[in-house]
């Protein structure tokens, strides 16, 4: 059980370090690669919590599809370098740091308030995927269908947004 704690702390530190790296690098490509690392760490957290299906989906959908799309757009727009002019918002860093630190204090104290809530049973027991599927396709069937509709709308929306309009049309 101590091994689990150490493993969790390692993965959590890796995720936080990756997030800080994402924010501190000035090259968007580096930021995207740091985010891929963070997403892998989150997948590892899911595994430690016994949600192995979500861990797989996280790697396939987030790291495999979404981040590839991000990198594709960054390279498509050729944004490998920063060419921003002088900052028009002075003290943006200071106030951003102050307010997100306040947010962190509030959220962490809320998390600390749940100390009495405990995980039931062994953490590493995996979630049975058939049970997950049964819930998804009975209780949440309507939501599932609506999600497919939303994906279709997103697909059509992207085509409409990015299509070049013909001159004079």
């Amino acid at each position: 059980m101590v091994v689990l704690k150490i493993l969790f702390l390692l993965v959590a530190l890796g995720a936080i370090a990756g997030a800080i790296g994402m924010l501190s690098s000035s090259n968007p490509v580096h930021s995207a690669l740091f985010l891929v690392w963070v997403l892998f760490c989150v997948a590892a957290i899911y595994l430690l919590l016994g949600a192995e299906f979500l861990a797989i989906v996280q790697v396939i959908v987030y790291a495999g599809a979404i981040m590839v799309l991000f990198l594709f757009i960054i390279m498509f727009l050729n944004l490998g370098r920063d060419e921003f002019g002088p900052d028009q918002l002075p003290n943006q860093w200071t106030w951003g740091l102050i307010f997100s630190a306040l947010l962190a204090v509030v959220l962490v104290s809320i998390a600390g308030a749940t100390a009495t809530l405990r995980f039931s049973g062994d953490l590493l027991t995996l979630t049975p995927i058939p049970e997950l599927a049964r819930t998804l396709f009975t209780k949440y069937l309507l939501a599932f269908e609506i999600a497919s509709l939303i994906l279709l709308i997103a697909m059509v929306g992207v085509v409409v947004l990015v299509k070049r309009r013909k001159e004079g049309a």
Binding site: P28, V42, I74, A113, A154, L161
Partner: protein, 103 residues
């Protein structure tokens, strides 16, 4: 048996990642990196969902994470299309340059 990791640790990680995402949205000027920070916040919320789902021995939380991932995929596609449209119009991804509501 005493379960290894306390739930407050997992929620603490979720809180810290969410705050880092909020920090990114506040301080970054590159719209793509801001968008990545939003993805980070979505993931932080997902971690909290899975932790609570595990604590209450209820699968609904995991199903909601599944739907969040679906919506994140749709959201990223639309958001990046908007970024491409903005870049075609302004030739920049500096969000401070897009200050007018209408061009």
């Amino acid at each position: 048996m005493e379960a290894g990791v306390p739930i407050s640790w997992v929620l603490g990680l979720s809180a810290i990642l969410f705050s880092l995402g909020a920090l990114g949205v506040l301080i970054k000027r590159n719209i793509i990196v801001m968008f990545m920070s939003i993805e980070l916040m979505l993931n932080a919320a997902n971690i909290a969902f899975v932790a609570f789902s595990r604590a209450h021995n209820n699968l609904d939380g995991q199903i909601i994470v599944f739907f969040t991932m679906t919506l994140a995929a749709a959201e990223v596609a639309i958001g990046l299309a908007i970024i491409v449209a903005l870049f075609r119009l302004r030739r920049t991804v500096d969000i401070d340059k897009a200050r007018l509501l209408k061009w």
